[in-house]
Amino acid sequence: MHRLLIQSLRWLDVRMVYLVTSLFVIPVCLLLNTNHSRTSAYHFYRHRLCYGRLRAAWSVYINHCLFSQVVVDRFAVFAGKHFHLDIEGYEHFRLLESEPKGFMIFSSHIGCYEVAGYSLISKTKRFNALVFGGEKATVMAGRQEVLGHHNIRMIPVKEDMSHLFLVNEALDNNEIMSMPADRIIGSAKSVTSVFMDAEARFPAGPLSVATMKGLDVLAVNVMKTSAKHYKVYVARLSYDKHAPRRQQIQQLADSYVKELEHRVRQYPLQWFNFYDFWSR
């Protein structure tokens, strides 16, 4: 299925695929609501953004259409297509890249982070990205084919914890380590922060790694602005490296959450965490 999509996207305009998915696939998905994405998205627009019922329902539809579009875009990239990228805050990346020490990038499940790999290329430091270990082989192969020659290494999360050794090795070699920082996967340890006016739990892992090594951290969010354009937002996160460790972790979490909330309020239709994010 994935391979067929990649082959089709070599000659098909992505807008054709957008149209078909928006008219035929998304309505069926919303009707079936098998993974409760409709319910959780509606809850997000109704209760977190305080939209009225009609606006919330319409937002759920557009949100799912946009989600399908970024998934299509991801495969379009594997098929060799290019998107126009504007980068805000590139100077933060350039500055950290020029320093001898490695640094971390925190990503989120908003917009389409995967497109950033093509723009945030470092000439001096290898870019390592921690990715979900259960991805389909075609996705991993596509990533490797497109990203491999850009000095980018994918590190899949594995049961045997081998990814931890690779993360440690990358940071010891002063490389760039990118991790999603909004979803609790693997370790159940979390840090609580106020996000969209309510307490939410964020994974302790990325915060723990950054503070244990005293690393600088960037938040990178890549948002879709039109059919063929994306905007990359690079922001420097802050925490007091001399504070007690627990405080450092909380400060870094709060800094990340502040940037995430800013982008989510700016692009509310590109919130793609389809589960009850605020559950205790």
Binding site: D160, M161, L164, G205
Partner: protein, 85 residues
């Protein structure tokens, strides 16, 4: 060896923020992960960094790491034989 075990317990408590525990609460033979002390992958990375910083031991092999991190006693045994600091 007993001194090293006690030192490791204190280091683990500090590195993993186990503030509610004392060294006496940890049985050096009980498993660190899953049942026992209940550590998980994030804690494993803390332990990798701890061994590196405190004892100059650089672990690179996941299979070897799994064996070493079985219990405090197994870590102490490995540290005593391989420490560089």
């Amino acid at each position: 060896m007993n001194e090293l075990v006690k030192e490791l317990k204190d280091e683990i408590i500090e590195a993993l923020n186990l503030e509610e525990m004392t060294a006496d609460d940890i049985d050096e033979n009980e498993p660190l992960f899953g049942e026992g002390l209940g550590l998980d992958s994030i804690d494993a990375l803390e332990l990798i960094v701890l061994l590196e910083k405190k004892y100059g031991i650089k672990l690179a092999d996941p299979a070897e790491g799994k064996k070493i991190f079985t219990s405090v006693a197994s870590i102490a045994d490995y540290v005593s034989k391989n420490r560089k600091k």
